[in-house]
Subunit: 320 residues, 2 copies
């Protein structure tokens, strides 16, 4: 028996990832979309969420792929209507509003799931397992991509609350907080804001690790050519290299076999993300069945901490 799901916000990420993942799942049936700009072929589309919720009581779950700022009101509408809710990353525009949603879901007896797709990348679990008993010497995150290639026309990313380079950077933090066996916290950050944007285009961040080992992150949104989503982790057991956003793992120079089924990457729209969303929807199905929620906000908290204590530097204006 599959559960009916509505997808809200039919943009690039919905079309590239959510729809193929839902369509490939036996547990979910895409029953409706909500989009002011039109939906997709053969699926009923609604211009606003309340109309959909009123018209389709058979839809048990709502997946929100909107930008973070408007997402809260949609989540509240869905929760008030007794539906389960899946949140794209970042789970909201503020950490406080996510806590409010979590409390609402608990009160209403429904599931809410703050997803972190990069945590589902093929080799992340293997990296976590290998690191568990190693002493950390250093950890360096390098997350450099071309915003014009991956976020074409996404004006919201440059508006206050849109996170700028932390929109991809939060993916690194979501992996970091999954693979490290101990918590870290930001101690300094330099945020570089284009003079015509409200969010940063680049950042350098330092974390404190209990062992004193240096943990750093370099984010850049203007990287042309080779795109880099890597972590270089030096430990008592040698070097772990996690590349391609968690899809490729090399330990002491030896590339590790992919631990996940290759079949999951067949949608092929973006090899770096292949399978991640399939696993998110499988996890959501399990959470609903178990009547549980999952709302780990630690990656978002680190982003928020960067903005809280970061130094702000103004750099050249950004033009698409």
């Amino acid at each position: 028996m599959s559960m009916k799901i509505a997808l809200v916000g039919i943009g690039k990420i919905a079309i590239d990832q959510h729809i193929p993942a839902i369509n490939s799942s036996r547990e979910w049936e895409l029953a409706a979309t909500v989009s002011r700009h039109g939906g997709i072929e053969d699926i009923e589309n609604f211009a606003d969420i309340q109309t959909m919720l009123d018209a389709r009581p058979d839809i048990e779950c709502v997946s929100l792929c909107l930008p973070p700022v408007p997402r809260f009101d949609y989540a509240v509408a869905a929760l008030k209507a007794g539906r389960h809710v899946i949140l794209e990353k970042p789970p909201g525009a503020t950490v406080s509003e996510c806590r409010t949603l979590e409390a609402m879901a608990l009160d209403g007896g429904v599931t809410i799931y703050a997803t972190w797709h990069s945590r589902e990348a093929a080799q992340v679990d293997l990296a976590r397992d290998w690191l568990r008993d190693k002493k950390l010497n250093s950890l360096r995150i390098i997350w450099k991509e071309d915003v014009r290639r991956w976020h074409p026309g996404q004006k919201w990313i440059w508006e206050a609350g849109g996170l700028g380079v932390f929109d991809p950077g939060i993916n690194a933090f979501s992996i970091l907080t999954k693979i490290l066996p101990v918590p870290v916290h930001v101690t300094s950050a330099e945020l570089r804001f284009p003079e015509n944007c409200e969010t940063p285009i680049a950042a350098d961040i330092a974390f404190a690790h209990p062992s004193g080992a240096p943990v750093t992150a370099e984010f850049d949104f203007l990287e042309e050519g080779t795109q880099t989503w890597s972590m270089i982790i030096d430990t008592s057991g040698g070097e772990l290299l996690l590349e391609e956003g968690g899809a490729k793992l090399t330990i002491n120079g030896v590339e590790q076999a992919d631990s996940t089924a290759l079949a999951e990457t067949e949608d092929g729209s973006n090899p770096l993300l292949g399978g991640e969303y399939t696993r998110l929807y499988a996890r959501m199905a399990n959470l609903v069945k178990a009547a549980q929620s999952e709302m780990d906000l630690s990656p978002f908290m680190h982003v928020s901490d960067c903005f809280l204590l970061g130094k702000r530097v103004t750099v050249a204006p950004f033009h698409e």
Copy 2:
């Protein structure tokens, strides 16, 4: 039987508030200070915390009155040495580090208390009780003070992580989160940064309230003359006016009698803060006796959210 306490960071707030509050309490005995710049008469002073912890195993509790950025390492040292910890507001430089401290205290079986002195202002509890059954129409926070008068020479307040005008502003948020019966979250903020400072000197903030009622805050650090720490709250039951940082309460034009003992304000160094710290130390004694911790980070979370989604505007440089 009084408990021995060490005070770390002997600056303005320690001398104006913490020391009188500890000295007036039968439950606490000021047994040592930690300060690189010298302590106070008749109390043993240590230049660094580890020396104090090693030399004075009889001291059960450590109260940290340092600026937020260096505070974490001191708290870790005290917790590792099995001491209870009191944190001045804000409880740290990042929300994540506060969560780490909370987990450490839980693991170590000691008490940690993130204090919010403004929550202990004389009329805050009365305001909370009155608001409990009212429908909110609007809430306006006006928090305007002269930084040169209240924070002379405190350079850290202008450095990244020092919070700027949110250092007093977080007091307003600590009251807001105590008196409102439902949670709110920041939806927009404008932060005004002096061109020579890393933290804002003024801010305008809007919150979302479940009822849709407008909830706003205006913070200004350049207010000369009359100082304003007020909340104007319009409700179904009329207007509640909380002034002087929570010390004065007027409901529908009638000033309410002070619900707390006047005797608590006798130190007199700052009439707005009188009694708040006495109550914080009384609460800490109760927490220690009950083997509990209190770490409500919601005021800090709202500050962090303001930085996360705030628009940044550059304004004239600030010179002391």
